[in-house]
């Protein structure tokens, strides 16, 4: 049970909770702007998940400096790979969010509304 109180358990749980909340926001909010916000929350939650998965207790950041011996670095540092993935994912995330926003903006320009229920000209 003590395990559950370790950082990575907390953060993973948090990330899942954030994910569920974000998804709830995505399918419950009528405002497109809110949907995009929810989307970015989901994004953040997944980044958090990936970083948590990389964590190993009592280890330091994957940077070899005075604190970490070069020789047995493998026993000292946490996993650098998910960090690299998350770096990429964050940048992709802002790209997609910005794109969604500009779509939302042009849609708003046309119809003067952000209610997703009003955008149903395509159906069936």
């Amino acid at each position: 049970m003590t395990n559950l109180f370790s950082i990575e358990y907390i953060t993973i749980f948090t990330s899942f909770a954030l994910l569920v909340l974000g998804l709830w926001g995505i399918i419950s909010q009528k405002n497109i702007f809110k949907i995009i916000i929810s989307f970015s929350i989901v994004n953040t939650s997944i980044h958090l998940l990936l970083v948590s998965l990389a964590y190993i207790r009592n280890r330091t950041a994957p940077i070899i400096d005075s604190a970490v011996d070069r020789v047995n670095a493998a026993e000292k540092v946490v996993d650098p790979v998910p960090h690299a993935l998350v770096l990429t994912a964050i940048v992709i995330g802002i790209g997609i969010t910005a794109l969604m926003l500009s779509y939302a903006f042009t849609m708003y320009k046309q119809h003067k509304t952000l209610d997703i229920n009003q955008y149903k000209s395509l159906k069936w």
Partner: protein, 1042 residues
Amino acid sequence: MVSPIYIIAILLGMAFMLGLLSKSGTRIAGILTSVSLALPVYISISWFIQILSGNADAITIFTAGSVPPFSINLVMGLEEAFFTSAINILGLLGFIYLSADLKKQGVRAMALYLVLIMGLNVVVMTRDIFNLFVFMEIVTIAVAGLIYLKNDNQSKEAGFKYLVAVGIISLFFLIGIGFFYFYGGTLNIDGFIAANSVVVKGATIAIFFIIISIILELKPFPANGWALDVYQAATPGVSALISSGTATASIFVLYKLLPLGSEIWLQILTVVGAVTFLGSNFLGISQKNTNRLLGYSSIGQVGLLMMVIGFMPQLGSAFKMIFFSVFISHFLAKAGLFWLSGIVKKESITDWGILRGSNIALFLFGIFLFALVGFPPFPSFYGKWQMVMELAGTGRFIWIVIILLGSFFEGLYLFRWLGYAIKGEKSNEEKLQIPWDKIVPPFIFGISLFIAAYYANSMSVYGNTINLIPLVFILLLFVIDFLPAYIKNTITIGAMVYYAVNLYPSISDDTLRVVFAAIFLIGGILTMIAGYSVKGKRKGFFPFAVMMYFGLIGLIEAENLFQFFFAWELMTLGSYILIIRGKFSMKHAFNYMLFSLGGAYLIFLGIAMSSFGNTSLDIGIIGLSTMPGWSYTLLAIGFLTKTAALGLHIWLPGAHAEAESDVSPMVSGILLKGGVFGLIVLFLAMGGEQAASHPLLYSLGWLGAITALGGNLLAVFQEDAKRLLAYSSVANLGYILFALAFMTNIGWLSALTYSINHFLFKTLLFLAIGGVVLRVKTHNMYEMGGLIKQMPWSFIAVLIGIITLAGIPPLSGYAGKWLFYNAVITKGWYFQGVLVFFAGTIAFLYCFKLIYSVFLGQPKDRFRKVKEAPIWYLIPQFILIIGIMIFSARPDLVLKPIGALLTQSSYFPSDSLSWENVTASTNLGYWSGYKIMLVIGVMFAVLLVWLMYMSRKTQKVKQFNIVYAGERPFTPETTHFSHNMFSHYYKALGFLSAPLATRFWNITNDITHRIADGSKRLYTGNGQTYLAVIMAYIIIIYLIMF
């Protein structure tokens, strides 16, 4: 060879470079973009060719000077080379197509396009899961940008829905990747597969998220609302890229990632694919918006591809061929159709008549549709065939039914669309604008379909048994379509004569086949002669006429079921186009295609069931079927749709009556025999005489009898001369079915006599009436009358025709009847016999009506000046009359060899007919055609002389020289004697001719459409609902999995 890494470098480098160009440099940018799109085409194709020919091995491209799993690697193998080639070719052509739109948006839009193609290439080649994610995101974003190109309200909306939906899907993918790495300790796909043997605990959930997101990217039904909106709203050029380009990459990704998962994923994929294929195509049938319709079809095809992948283990070595065939048809045809849609610029498929403004566009449209539905010789035909056969081999019939049902729905809406294009209304003011850059890409894809067809043929197991030369000839006819009709007619007739001469020796020992070959080829040549009367070019007629005849002959030549079905489909396709050429035949041709397609798929299913447990595909295996009840019934119903048995007949009258004057005899006198031949093949395979007590035959006997009665009853009350003849054909085919169902020697003999007779007199009658219709420009008999003076030769032809039809001595119709009643009595089916006999008497009524109201009575004023039918119509008529005369006088010439064959064969050993010179006798009596002819001839001559002597006193009056209580009737035609001629009979018998079948099919059709229309409402248009459906889809698959 050039390393594939340069594909990335060139495309991406050029995309970055374009930023340096000034905004006005679109011309230069266009050229640079084309060049940089062309280079990857070269690179990937050269790899494909080299690897395929064995000159090169698949290579792995390492990056970062390290090896996987430490660094990302790309692979260029045979499959990758194939898919990147496809994508790059599409990329280049798609750019040419889109260049005008892109130029409008400036240099940046071109950079966008380049990045999209680069992304697709990497998605195919990469072996690293996260790299895959990144480049899939690139593709997503680039597509989202391209959707915006159209820059209208709908495209914005669709683009946003797309972005959100795919965004969510990719987030699930990312979760999957996180756990993939956590549990697998690698990001390399191959590394993971290798490690999977140790069963990585917990990795199943990672794989679940990964594969489910790829499946969702493939737009499974019903979690695909966003995709449909995109297809509808984007510029067609972009939709083509999405449908053929990104879907290609995604399907390959699925194929690449599947080995990660366990076997159960294959089953899930099969179900997902089946649901998608069936559901999407079903909803498509009530769709009118062009691009959305294509979207439905596109999604359906991807579903089929998923099914193919899901069945990978079952398909075994045939997998590659099947996948290739289905894939390439979809890839080429769907892109082509979207491109054409961009040229036509019509939102509704009902407005596609404008396509007729361009022959080349119409031609391309046709082949794309045929390729999608899976008609031979296009690749998907081979693919579907092979797939169905492989599935049948393992007894998966439910899946076959799903595939065929889905294909049927797809055929339904595609052929409705084709109908609108060929026959739909078209205003004269609108002109189809076809710039070269818009037509070149679909043209290249159209040609590629034929090349792909050739490869599919050579990869197919039975492909080498198909004779491709006639197909080449058909293609040649398309090429020379610009020539005048008479030249093409001569070439066609020449080719048919040549074919007949060459064919004869190979089948001469089988009289049965000779008879049918003669009907098909001699009949074909005769009806083609009538075609000389057509002036102008008669575009698009000859290729399809030849296709139909080649299909018919193919049935005879077929040695295995593959050839048989190939020929059957060709025949269907050719005849459909011939029928739709008629002025008002759009609806009827559609009905014809509907029934033909349904019938063809029943035959297909029957063949599949027969093949279960058998190793070969010889035609004889039908008889060895392990599920005889099913295969016999399915095949029989399939063939009966072609012979128009009552209940399945509703397509026939319209199709035959509304066809062009010289096409009606082709489809009525000749084409129907294709169905008869099918029945003969089936019944022979069932075992001939030994199967005589089979319950199926008993019911078919009843069906035949009822069809004979019903057909004649319906014919009697017709006012339309051609419809009358058409219904009469229904009845005659009923006789033939009835006689065949006896399964006795004499029964078959009479059936064959009927077949020959029906060919002779129905071709004759349709030609003669067709000639009349050509002159008087109406089908309604009560508007004609007294034409005997103007058209004496046609009169004689019709007279001979109806005498034969009615079975009045001395002509050969009587011979048929004589044999027939002999057969009925021997068989002992008295009650059915009475029905048929009664039907025969009804035939007298309409025969009389036909000759009386058209040729006799008072001539109409407006027809006083009409000329005799064209000489080209009369020549074949009199050749047919000569044929009837010979057959009537010397039936032994034909019947003796047939009888001998039937008796000698193991099928019908008990012979009950004996010949003595010209006299045939059974234990019930004897008959000599020659003598009867002589006796009746003398009687006829005496009567004629007497009549002529009597008629010298007749007095001429004006037609409407009657008093109607001081008023003239408003429509004097309706007072014509022959108008509503048999109304008094109608009171007594009318209830029998109630259009029950029509009503039944109408209701079925209506219900189907309503259901489709109702379920379509699933796609509410609300992007949020779509997202909820996506999430629900994930949950459902999860529940199935765990």
